[in-house]
Symmetry: C2
Amino acid sequence: MDNKVYAIADVGGTKILLLLVGPDQNVILRQKLPTPPEATPELVVKVIEVALSRALQEVAVSPQSLAGLGVCIAALLDFEGGVIYEAPNLDWHEPIPFRDLLQRRFSCPVYLENDTNAAILGEVTYGAARGHRDAAYITISTGIGAGLYLDGRIYRGSGGFAGEIGHFKRFGKGRRCGCGGSDCLESWASGEGIARSGRMLWDESDPSIGPLNTAAVFDWAEEGDILAGSIIKQAVEDIGISLANLATLLNPSCMVIGGGVARHRPALVGQIREKMKHFAVAPVIKVSPLEVVAAQLEPEAGAWGMHAMMCR
Amino acid sequence: MDNKVYAIADVGGTKILLLLVGPDQNVILRQKLPTPPEATPELVVKVIEVALSRALQEVAVSPQSLAGLGVCIAALLDFEGGVIYEAPNLDWHEPIPFRDLLQRRFSCPVYLENDTNAAILGEVTYGAARGHRDAAYITISTGIGAGLYLDGRIYRGSGGFAGEIGHFKRFGKGRRCGCGGSDCLESWASGEGIARSGRMLWDESDPSIGPLNTAAVFDWAEEGDILAGSIIKQAVEDIGISLANLATLLNPSCMVIGGGVARHRPALVGQIREKMKHFAVAPVIKVSPLEVVAAQLEPEAGAWGMHAMMCR
């Protein structure tokens, strides 16, 4: 048993999840804070510092007794150097020594990790992928991304940027992606991609239509609308092909599907599994078992991954 | 310096390459044997045994002084168990305990590895990818396959079947692949895929056309034939997209391109590099260097990989 107290922050585009975890994985405190609009890195650090010191006071834990602070974030970042290169949700596009900014405010060791890398470690350690040595976590959310756990450890790639499956190509025809490229998987099949497809077909300024978000397209598809249904069907096929290609290249034994869209539409995992198995290389699938399962720790998979990283 | 003598066999569909390597990577003997037609696993083992014992006699090395035998082969195989599941070039489709069959005939340790896994280890140890911790070897030959070297070691996947990039989907429309699926990368862009595309356009029974093989399509494209040119252009684009997806998922620092087609058409590597960089995720490519280079050890990359594996 681990007697220490760990602090964890999962920094998202709209909110920051704060956890204080004590001995035996006991959650001492769980808090959600809004991410300040147009937040600079310094402001995010300040929010974490203030919220954490208040939280520690609240639960009567001294800051000195903190064994570690783990922060995960949706960003292209270099784990070794603790530098964030791109955080699209926060509109950060220049290199930021984010771990150093945090470390200056905290005396305990600070860990900074990409959110999907943290999520696969969380799911492998405490969740849906326990016991697997080769597994991937795929988030289907505003964007699409993956975290890889290969040969029993997080795989980050040479620059720390592995897992950018949302930018697999080539899907659909002629849609620009936020990355600067065209026809990336996530420009069509992510929550935002599905909403964009809806806005191409319907006019949201029409009061009988209403706001054209991901939920609306899913709802209409479930109500039997043929156009909405074809948007969802195509998104499922595109994700299925991408996961088939991941399986064909990496031969994992488990894929964990998480993220907001998957969490709110539980039927998706089964539909994606079916397409994935259809497109993955048959002779391998035949002899090498591959589970495709829903995430178990959502929306805290990343936070628990940071916990696993710190108490190893 | 390593004082030992190692024996290596690279078993292909048409020939078997035999190497005897002595101290200081000195090649004592290099031999090519035809693979017997319709060779059973037992027959291939027999060929290796007889050829090797003759070779050892020839160079006056006693079989007892052999430090290891390394065999690589184009097959879906399980490294740990030494079992071959599929070797399409040899028409083997049932599980074969191939390493055990070999081990019964040799008193030295026997290693059995997939040929592209061996090739990336060879290129990382002695060739074009020296110094890289995250690299991929891609063979463009009759088929297309990859060997992965991730975080400083061969990555094999949960069942041992990683690297099947030739079965990435979805390319072209409606072409069956030998794997049982449709529209795999290699059904269009491999040497055999290019020849198939040629046979769809021209009639090889016409004496003015002649045999429609990969070389013919490349030659006509180089002579300015527009149809042949479009077949090659499409193959380059399909391979470029597939390598872009590999780079987007794994963020390696080096990709080594080998195989017979690449070796005979040296302009290919540059063309593939250009397409790959066009389709790979831009923010990563911008900050994380990625070399795309021709293999240096061809056609012996696999053999040298087995050498590296044995003398580690």
